[in-house]
Point group: C2
Chain length 403, copies 2
């Protein structure tokens, strides 16, 4: 039995809808996964994620949780689900991306990467084996291999070298992961109390492991990385190393060339991307899963995503504006609160401003994905895509460029 199942339910061009089943939830794809870096989707109560937004899967960041509260606390509290009270699916990243963002604080070797904690400066070490051990202790439904993430504009030699290392680390991740599953290190392995017991049927109850395709902007390297990742064999496949400084056209090119070549019967995950426009464009090219900090991070800086583009609530033209953030949105924030009120909260440094905009932004992202799924299943995705992109970019309310 497999840890997860994923089946295509409809297609239009390269876009597809599917049903992803994990031991803890049933997830319709394409799906956007809210980011819960430190065991919380910043500013939202889990009740809102469950009932109002109906998120079925969220992310946790291995790097952050490893540093704080640390593995011993997470283990003592029964793993990340029990610690946070989130009983639906979790995906944890490997920690690699964060570590490689600490350019001044790290030292890379074949074995792994030594770095200094951004919290207290203490020396830490991550390797494929340690990342797998942490992710088993966290107990997410989906675990990511430990990879090296080169800059988006890395030259071919750098990217090739990085790809080779990532391939060797992927193998070590796979071996270590399998051992941990066999010896019961996964804290998320439970057979009772599932929210959706049906999700468990015909599943092994263990964690799933996803491979990551690297290669920067070099298409031949991306192809090579894809082949070597498939060769090892994973439960799902991700494209990493995009939206890290390269041109947007390069990103779209990589997705267009690589996504359709990724295994058809496994979920395809585009890591760390992106704006609503990016999501729709990537779905058109064959992607099924997304995560990004944009809706939560922008929510805290007053920036709201709307069907007419982004607006920043700090703008004085909203001071007496009794319309909701997005007149087309049905979320609980837009049903209740005006731009004028949310602007006042923001100007007055009230945390409710961030809470409300974050909630709306996530509602907008999740609702967009719902519309994407509906239009694919009705065979009208290409029309939806055209209308969506035209509306979101043409309006005069657009305060800022996304990304």
């Amino acid at each position: 039995m497999k840890p997860i199942s994923w089946t295509v339910t409809s297609r239009e061009g390269n876009a597809r809808t599917g049903i992803l089943r994990t031991r803890r939830s049933v997830i319709e794809t394409p799906v956007f996964m809210p980011v819960g870096t430190q065991g919380t989707v910043k500013g939202l109560r889990f009740e809102a994620l469950e009932s109002d937004l109906d998120a079925r899967i969220i992310l946790g960041n291995t790097y952050h949780l490893f540093l704080r509260p640390g593995l011993e606390v997470i283990r003592a509290c029964g793993g990340l689900h029990k610690f946070t009270s989130w009983n639906r699916s979790l995906l944890t990243d490997s920690g690699g991306f964060q570590v490689f963002s600490l350019t001044d604080l790290r030292r890379l070797s074949e074995d792994g990467v030594e770095f200094r904690s951004h919290i207290d400066g203490s020396k830490k070490f991550l390797s494929p084996e340690i990342s797998m051990e942490i992710q088993a202790a966290l107990g997410a439904e989906i675990v990511m291999v430990f990879d090296e993430c080169p800059p988006g504009k890395a030259d071919v030699e750098t990217a090739q070298k990085s790809l080779e290392l990532t391939a060797r680390w992927a193998k070590r991740s796979r071996i270590s992961f399998d051992e941990l599953q066999a010896n019961g290190s996964d804290t998320g392995f439970v057979n009772l109390g599932f929210e959706e017991a049906s999700a468990q049927k015909e599943l092994s109850g263990t964690q799933a492991l996803f491979g990551i395709i690297q290669g920067a902007s070099h298409m031949n390297l991306r192809r090579e990385s894809l082949d070597r990742t498939i060769e090892i064999g994973f439960d799902g496949y991700a494209i990493g190393g995009l939206s890290v400084g390269e041109e947007k056209t390069v990103m779209y090119d990589v997705i267009e060339n690589i996504a359709p070549a990724m295994p058809y019967d496994s979920p395809r995950y585009l890591m760390g991307v992106g704006t609503p426009e990016d999501l729709v464009e990537a779905v058109a090219r064959g992607i099924d899963m997304f995560d990004c900090v944009l809706p939560t991070r922008n929510g805290r800086t007053g920036s709201a995503f709307t069907s007419n583009g982004q607006i920043n609530i700090r703008n004085s033209r909203f001071a007496r504006d009794t319309e909701p953030l997005d007149v087309d949105c049905t979320c609980s924030v837009c049903q209740r609160h005006s731009r004028a009120y949310i602007r006042h909260l923001y100007q007055a440094n009230e945390i409710l401003a961030g809470i409300l905009i974050t909630h709306h932004n996530l509602a907008f992202f999740l609702d967009t994905m719902k519309k994407v799924r509906q239009s694919i299943s009705l065979g009208v995705f290409s029309a939806f895509r055209r209308d969506f992109l035209s509306k979101i970019s043409a309006s005069d309310v657009n305060d800022e460029n996304g990304g």
Copy 2:
């Protein structure tokens, strides 16, 4: 017809339960009113205040809302209820207390008080007439007279002089308030869309005005202030100028002497007080209404009120503690989250820490008042009071002194 009605439903000694009806809600007393200084109870969504906590009345601060967003914005948005989306009762203070806290920035005259905004340093002026005008524009169900609030340790001469000024200002407040009600300046005056239409029956639909008794710690001055306030005549009566630096025994003495002498058939409101212990002690002395920033402010600094006393979640002994904040609490936070998780959120600077502790603290305050009401109506309040105070002060989990 009166703007509000209040009737005693049961008594035990000086303690009493009652039903307060306003044009927007039915409020069981004794009641604790959460403080929503800038048009938001910090960190809470209104949905939580309504459904989970079932608060029937909250406070707004005239001083803060006058400075930001300002009257023009509030008026353009239809008053404070419509602006914030809170459709239950509101009480607004007069702005006096905040202005008199700005000791270095204000200049007092017979007419009113000139002060500098703490936001931008600009010169502002408040008087009884201006305070009434602002409070009419805010449109709360209960309006407070504009008073001078001397320090708790003010000598008899200072307190007497202040009391005289407060009495003259109370008269001016009354006159100005009545004019504003007559000329329709109250934005909260609406005849439709009440949450509880029954609350409107036999009520005038206008705002209610409460008088404030001052006199610092001098009992003869307190008595004089009480007489002069009653002479003017108000819909309810408040004790102001307590919990402002005087000894706790002085506060209890003033309440014990003054509260039972306040009109029996009107609600008695103790302004800005206090800890859960203070609330229970003041109810025993005849008080019906309270407000205080403690549950919300302490929530943001990691301090939780529990039936066993206050705990501070930063304490390292909670790092692996899987118990809820208060094992006896039935609020949504205590039903779901552990001390270990909330401590982690606090240590990681996640705003969810403040959101969760604030929610629990308000639940604890409101639940305490519910138990107070139940015990009075069952005639077992004195036993409740003894048990409550003994439990809350004796436990070894008590991290800090309240207040």
